[in-house]
């Protein structure tokens, strides 16, 4: 979807960024550029000061220079994460570094550093680079709230971001994970999980219920027809299985695109209404929409979707209802 400049500014309106770089001119340029695009930026030239004034759960993203005297960007990030485990970050560097060199010099950070942005960087490129990390960070925060609606621009973005969100649940939070895929076959998802998460025993995880993969029809129409009561029963069974396994929560992503492709928008709304906002058990559910599909709904229906969800992220929205 193409945005007017004002729409872009509006899109980033609610996004708060912590920017730390020891170079004042870099801070000045990036801060001004990000603010003109609608971001709310707190900027520091001293990592110690940034740490002193840091408040958890207010920033959607941290942009940190790696090489800063007194406290490097990775150390600062570790300290910030102690206070705010869901804080996402990307890093700035004036130097190129190859992946193998990075692993050798920073072995402990190799898995957690998602992005290093080479300085100097234009504002448009910076925003392009931080957008996926920002969305992951928004998801991590939103997911604590239960039933969340997320709007993605493309199916690729949907699946990449969803897997990132599920990976944290499985590997870091002792949660069961569940994915209801739309157009992407389950075997492709399995292949991504095995290769990108470095998981060797996926079959065992699926057998034990730690990882559950469903197609749209398997989950929503197991007997060939849509029945909200049956879906409710499936959710109940899933929760029982997770509780019995001693896990802390279920993290679930459902790609709702097939509802639109099959002309089942009314059924989708019934399903969203049935799920409602709150669950007895920690059930962190994301209803994943593609931007051009959700735009088929009129304003009143969108308003209803807001009411059915704890939070709406993306598509120009980042709102808790």
């Amino acid at each position: 979807m193409k945005h007017h400049p004002n729409e872009k500014t509006q899109q980033h309106r609610a996004h708060k960024i912590l920017l730390v770089d020891d170079e004042e001119n870099i801070i000045w340029v990036l801060r001004r550029g990000l603010e003109l695009q609608g971001f709310d930026v707190d900027a520091y030239t001293s990592p110690k000061e940034a740490l002193t004034f840091f408040k958890p759960n207010i920033y959607h993203l941290a942009i940190l220079d790696i090489r800063m005297p007194g406290m490097n960007g990775f150390m600062l990030y570790r300290k910030l994460k102690e206070q705010d485990p869901n804080l996402g970050a990307c890093f700035l560097s004036a130097f190129e570094i190859h992946q193998d060199e990075f692993k050798k010099v920073f072995p402990s950070m190799a898995d957690s550093v998602k992005k290093i942005i080479k300085k100097p960087v234009t504002i448009s490129n910076l925003i392009k680079e931080i957008t996926p990390i920002l969305k992951t960070s928004l998801l991590a925060r939103a997911a604590r709230q239960g039933h969340v609606l997320v709007v993605y621009e493309t199916p690729t973005e949907l699946i990449d971001q969803s897997l990132e969100f599920l990976k944290v649940g499985l590997l870091e939070n002792n949660e069961d994970i569940m994915l209801i895929t739309g157009s992407i076959p389950k075997d492709s998802i399995r292949s991504k999980i095995v290769n990108e998460w470095k998981i060797e025993d996926l079959d065992a995880l699926e057998a034990s219920g730690r990882v559950s993969l469903y197609t749209f029809r398997e989950w929503y129409m197991p007997d060939g027809k849509f029945d909200p009561k049956q879906i409710g029963e499936q959710v109940r069974k899933k929760i029982e299985q997770t509780k019995a396994g001693g896990r802390q929560a279920i993290r679930c992503v459902g790609d709702v695109s097939p509802f639109f492709e099959l002309g089942m928008q009314e059924e989708l709304l019934k399903c969203e209404e049935a799920l409602g906002r709150h669950f007895d058990f920690p059930f962190r559910g994301i209803c994943a929409y593609i931007s051009d599909k959700i735009q088929q709904f009129d304003g009143a229906t969108i308003q209803l979707l807001h009411q059915y969800h704890d939070k709406v992220v993306g598509g120009g929205e980042d709102t808790g209802s």
Binding site: I66, R67, M68, P69, G70, N72, A94, F95, K104, V105
Partner: protein, 201 residues
């Protein structure tokens, strides 16, 4: 073994404040100029703009004296280093092409192989002698040891060089004061003791 000269303390600091920045930079560059081959010296700089002036002026006077210059940067990107060198009248392209000037990334020079800098300097010694060069100066920011959080390795490395280095070059190990302040007192003393002279603008 004589004690290293280390300027520190409030008294000296307040006296130093009476100097203007240019004279402080000039004082450091003069000390670097006067250093002998094999000297393993140390510089604790207060901020990057000051360090930029020091390394560019030291490079300029060394190149004017027919020496080979190795600049190992950590906080300043290559573009900043090149701009600073050009600002003092160094023809960076020509000097680099002729092998008189090398600008290296501290992280890659020390953290892939801790002896990367020493080995590189050694490799230039033979060529320098063959080409009739007056000497080699290696001005290195050791900030990469702090970025990579390898302080014990830093102490070990500095001690391995000793106050008079085996390699016939002038060595200046530069530390940002905020990095140096993160070291324990014992580590600071060990590093200072490994150097022939400690300079602080």
């Amino acid at each position: 073994m004589r004690a290293p000269k280390y300027i520190q303390g409030n008294g000296n600091a307040s006296k130093m404040q009476t100097y203007n920045e240019e004279s402080r930079v000039a004082s450091i560059t003069a000390q670097v100029r006067q250093a002998d081959l094999h000297d393993h010296n140390m510089l604790i700089y207060s901020d990057l703009p000051t360090f930029r002036k020091i390394y560019s002026k030291c490079a300029k006077q060394a190149l004017d004296s027919n020496e080979i210059v190795i600049l190992i940067t950590n906080y300043d990107g290559f573009d900043k280093v090149i701009a600073a060198l050009k600002h003092v009248g160094i023809s960076v392209n020509n000097e680099t092409k002729e092998g008189n000037l090398a600008i290296l990334d501290s992280l890659k020079t020390y953290q892939i192989d801790v002896n990367g800098s020493v080995n590189f300097t050694k490799s230039l010694v033979t060529r320098g002698a063959r080409d009739g060069k007056a000497g080699i100066i290696n001005l290195a920011d050791l900030g990469s040891f702090f970025v990579s959080e390898r302080v014990p390795l830093l102490v070990e490395y500095e001690q391995s060089l000793q106050r008079k280095m085996a390699v016939p070059a002038k060595g200046i190990c530069a530390y940002h004061k905020d990095d140096f302040a993160t070291l324990s007192e014992e580590q600071q003393e060990e590093i200072i003791a490994a150097h022939n002279r400690v300079m602080q603008p």
